[in-house]
Amino acid sequence: MANQENRTLIVIFYLCIGVFALICLAPFVLAVSGSLSTEAKLAAEGYSFLPRSITLDTYKFMFDSKAEQIIQAYVVSVAVTVIGTASAVLVTTAYAYVITAKGFRYRNFFAFLAYFTMLFSGGTLPWYILSTKYYHLDDTLAGLFVPYLLNVFLMYLQANYFKSIPHEVIESAQIDGAGHFRIFFRIMLPLGQVGLVTISLFYALQFWNDFYLSLMLISDERLYTIQYMMYFMMANIQYLASGNSAQIGGAVVAPPLETAKMAMTCLTVLPIAILYPFLQRYFVRGIIVGSVKG
């Protein structure tokens, strides 16, 4: 009886999750199929799950004479994501360890120091002046990740994961004479691995998806990230589509506004969303192993 009940329950569970996952997947399928359609067809017939006729026009429009630049932008994005995530995870976990260290007098002070910045910010102008005139982060690769090395939300997440590690483990290590560094690198990082996997995923996506830092700090094309290139193109396409600048002198461009939105989603979100789950295990292990040895 109980077994039977359990089995139906499990089937229902699989169904619930499966259906929700499908709902989450649907817009991506629409986006992929939309990006393979022509602007006119999309306007006339709307979105569909299967493309009615496949054309690469939108991608051609976006890539046109830019292939080299796009590859370069992908390389920069990968570099920023890898370096940024690895260093951000270390900075964040170390900070999270500090605010969860039992018996540390200033842990609340540090926790507050971090939390306060979640609420209050001085706006873009002073940030921009400091970053360009004083820290000289403009047109450097460092400018693309250093400002984001501590995401307070993710730091709190990691602290939460650390808290679930049984305190006895830490205590016994302390009795054995282990210092904070040893405990952090040898015990907390390996035991908090589930948390590390999660926050590294979120960090990776944060760095991959960011265009704001590029927009603010980068004017050298060689340092454009793929997200920024897409943002750039999209802004341009939107402007062209607003009809303010149709060209008189011959060559006419009718920009594919809707399909470009979809293509952009495919080009930026999809690679990382599909690849990262497979890579994350290696990545996290790399960070842990690296930091233990270093």
């Binding site: 306007a43 920069v76 006419v252």
Partner: protein, 501 residues
């Protein structure tokens, strides 16, 4: 194994970082080196550095020319090293542009009157008055003088018009799909009744089409609902150009507005304006672009600009401008709406003005900056018609556009060009042209009115909501936002300016 792979990736990334950093430095070094060599150029001017910020994508060809021909010619003519920086369109009129201004960068880019007034109040633009006679002499001949006046504040020149194109009566004409019009057996449109007739007939033939692809028709319908010749200062205020006075008209409180909303309400109910217009305004634009709408608001250039866009979806689309019912003089604000400004901290504002002058100096230079190099980027046939050999945009030609220099594509009929060039001939300069309102005393009121406009007034004006039911409340909100104080201040400033003129 996997460990090794991770390290390999990290190593690769680090080397990339290092190479990127060093690249930046070496680039700067070579620039300096070339800057010192060229002493003989530019008729005795000291060498200068100019940075021109443009919005949009930099095409491959533009990148090439910026490093070669463009650079050389600027060096030769005015002894300046010019650098072009492209930033996304979203940063126009704020965003990064304002940040660059606020941190004192040395550059120039373009602006419009609204944005100019605010920026000048913050001290962000350089005063260009002292250089206008010396440095902008050539362009004063090729660009209409009223265009210069539009960018003066308190008698000082803060920006320089980028080009010179016919702009009177903007959006006062109906831009009709002539191909559809002829298809349903009509030859022209001269009144609202005929326009609606056209809609009914075309709808019967093509039920998938929408009528008017916009939510604002106050200008093109003006000839139907009033005898005045209204010219709008902004969303709230208008002038009557047929009266010789300095009276500011409160548009929403006028009888004309009421009459206008009644036409719009009927258009919305008859689906001449589609139902989705209340939500998805961008869709209207793309419907028009993909040939799914029958008419639009017209400008001098739209018959060929618009036809070019639509022709991708409907190859034989033709567009014609019609003015409804009455023959009133076209009004012009006497300006090209876009103008170059120079940042307040620029080391050598005069050189920037010289550069702007260069763009509009003569046919040769105009051709170079707008179209590139002859026979490589474009060809010109015996009739002076242009064929571009590349789709890459250079300095955007809509920006440079000057009716004295611009070249037309083969597909544009001769009579269009004639019409286009003569468009401004009968036009009257608005009595408010050159007046720029200083909003400092009523900043709060203006800001709040913006909120009332987008929530309460715009939907009535577009016919989404009924006037009689909704207007009293909207007016109440508008008054509560301080409209009376605002219009009084506007009237005061305008009267003072008008009397002085």
């Amino acid at each position: 194994m996997s460990k090794k792979r991770v390290w390999a990736v990290l190593f690769l990334a680090t080397t990339l970082l290092l190479s990127a950093c060093s690249k930046g430095e070496s680039g700067a070094a070579t620039e300096n080196a070339t800057g010192e060599n060229n002493e003989s150029a530019g008729s005795g001017l000291k060498p200068a550095k100019l940075k021109i910020v443009l919005y949009g994508d930099e095409s491959a060809r533009m990148k090439e020319l910026a490093k070669t021909e463009f650079k050389d010619i600027v060096k030769k003519e005015i002894n300046a090293e010019v650098e072009f920086q492209f930033i996304p369109w979203t940063e126009y009129g704020g965003g990064k542009t304002d940040l660059m201004l606020s941190t004192g960068e040395d550059f120039a880019t373009y602006t419009d009157t609204n944005y100019m007034v605010k920026s000048v109040a913050k001290g962000l633009y350089a005063d260009l008055t002292p250089y206008m006679d010396s440095a902008a002499a050539d362009m004063k001949k090729t660009v209409d003088e009223h265009s210069f006046k539009a960018f003066q504040l308190g008698g000082k020149q803060y920006a320089v018009p980028v080009g010179n194109k016919p702009n009177s009566g903007e959006f006062y004409s109906v831009l009709v799909r002539q191909d559809l019009l002829e298809e349903v057996g009509m030859s022209g449109v001269s009144s609202l009744t005929e326009l609606e007739q056209f809609y009914e007939k075309a709808l019967a033939a093509h039920p998938e089409l929408v009528g008017y692809a916009s939510t604002d028709a106050r200008r093109l319908l003006m000839y139907e609902y009033t005898d005045k010749n209204l010219y709008w200062q902004n969303d709230f205020l208008a002038l009557d150009e047929s009266a010789q006075d300095d009276k500011i008209i409160s548009w929403f409180e006028s009888e004309e507005f009421k009459a206008y909303t009644q036409i719009m309400r009927s258009w919305y109910e008859r689906a001449i304006i589609p139902k989705y217009a209340a939500t998805n305004t961008p869709q209207l634009q793309s419907d028009w672009n993909s040939g799914k709408a029958m008419f639009w608001a017209g400008t001098a250039a739209r018959p060929f600009e618009g036809a070019a866009t639509i022709s991708q979806a409907v190859p034989d689309a033709k567009l014609t401008n019609y003015f409804l019912s009455k023959d009133l003089p076209k009004i012009s604000r006497g300006t090209y709406s876009t103008a170059w400004f120079v940042s307040a901290s620029a080391a050598d504002p005069e050189r920037y003005v010289m550069f702007f002058n260069l763009l509009q100096k003569n046919q040769e230079l105009y051709d170079l900056f707008a179209y590139g190099i002859q026979d490589k980027d474009y060809t010109v046939d015996e009739n002076g018609r242009l064929t571009r050999l590349t789709t890459d945009a250079l300095i955007p030609d809509w920006l440079m556009m000057n009716k004295n220099f611009m070249r037309f594509d083969k597909s544009v009929p001769d009579d269009f060009i004639e019409q286009y060039k003569a468009w401004d001939d009968e036009a009257v300069i608005s009595k408010g042209a050159g007046f720029n309102f200083d909003n400092t005393p009523v900043k709060n009121e203006e800001t709040k009115m913006g909120g009332v406009f987008s929530e309460f007034l715009a939907p009535i004006a577009s016919g989404f909501l009924d006037y009689d039911e909704n207007f009293p409340r909207a007016l109440e909100k508008l008054k509560a936002a301080g409209f009376d104080k605002y219009i009084a201040e506007y009237q005061k400033q305008f009267s003072e300016w008008y009397a002085a003129k």
